[in-house]
Point group: C2
Chain length 199, copies 2
Amino acid sequence: MSERAAIDQAAYDVLFTTARTQNKWDGRPVSDDELRSVYDLMKWGPTSANSSPARFVFVRTQIGKEKLRPALSAGNLDKTMAAPVTAIIAYDPRFYDELPRLFPHSTEARSWFAGNEALAEETAFRNGTLQGAYFIIAARAHGLDCGPMSGFDRGRVDQAFFAYSGWKSNFLINIGHGDVSGLFDRSPRLSFDEACILD
Amino acid sequence: MSERAAIDQAAYDVLFTTARTQNKWDGRPVSDDELRSVYDLMKWGPTSANSSPARFVFVRTQIGKEKLRPALSAGNLDKTMAAPVTAIIAYDPRFYDELPRLFPHSTEARSWFAGNEALAEETAFRNGTLQGAYFIIAARAHGLDCGPMSGFDRGRVDQAFFAYSGWKSNFLINIGHGDVSGLFDRSPRLSFDEACILD
């Protein structure tokens, strides 16, 4: 029997309730050690057959930001150039080559995806996206703020960053410490009865 | 300036480090109030333009489980029939009709997606998947265990559950209290240097 405790309201707030998508940054940096620690937490989140297809590029330098610039939509440009780190959440369409090591319970796992490109792509996109969400939560758990974005040209990012690896970009996350003067008012959410059915 | 605290190691463990995908259940039930509380926490997670496309069906009854049965892969059958609750994580492809209310910052938000079916579908799938991950984390934060699965026939689930609403199934999550005798050994994860690039 599993005996796992629930976490407390203060942790709920840090992860969900008072955390906000940030648009301005207060100037405090984000260290490489913090990024490593966030990855080493979020990597434990579940994926289908432990496929772990997400790949991450942490763009911290001016040169890296300039590679991103032409791909960004106008509304995402200034806050991205100003963010201490912009993470490219990507996935490896050939994630299945790692399955003999990542999913040792089955010797056949690679063959479920190799040669079935539609299933491999769907699996990589779904599970890579789950891992992107785990990353947001794990970054918040470390006291960092996030600004996730999908307003950019995926093809341009892939050409600039993934011409050799074949990875594909999914979405971007600005990472830093937010300046709350840049916040919108909080938008409403759907109620349980609007979004959920009890069957 | 945002002054948000990091959460502690015990919370890390509940959410990620010691939490496991469960395959057996110890018989304790999951109440409707718990499901409502999990939803009311995870709903605050960020989505693109606050689009909130995820929809949830919580299958708790024998009749509901029998509607699911023909769609399940063999390996997922017994544990799903035995789970106190199986959540269908779905999305509404017409999520954009809610944007005038959900994203009041822009009067044009609906028009970004209405009439652009490919962008609407990609946005619904990506953001509905992010919300599915938030749901897993929020359920764990409530002391519940999850068993997410993508081994099922999405078309059959859509026909059985969403013929009228037009929602689309994405993945399933068994929810309950795990019996650790059903666990596999924990599989390894990619190291930071395998999955990440510092640019």
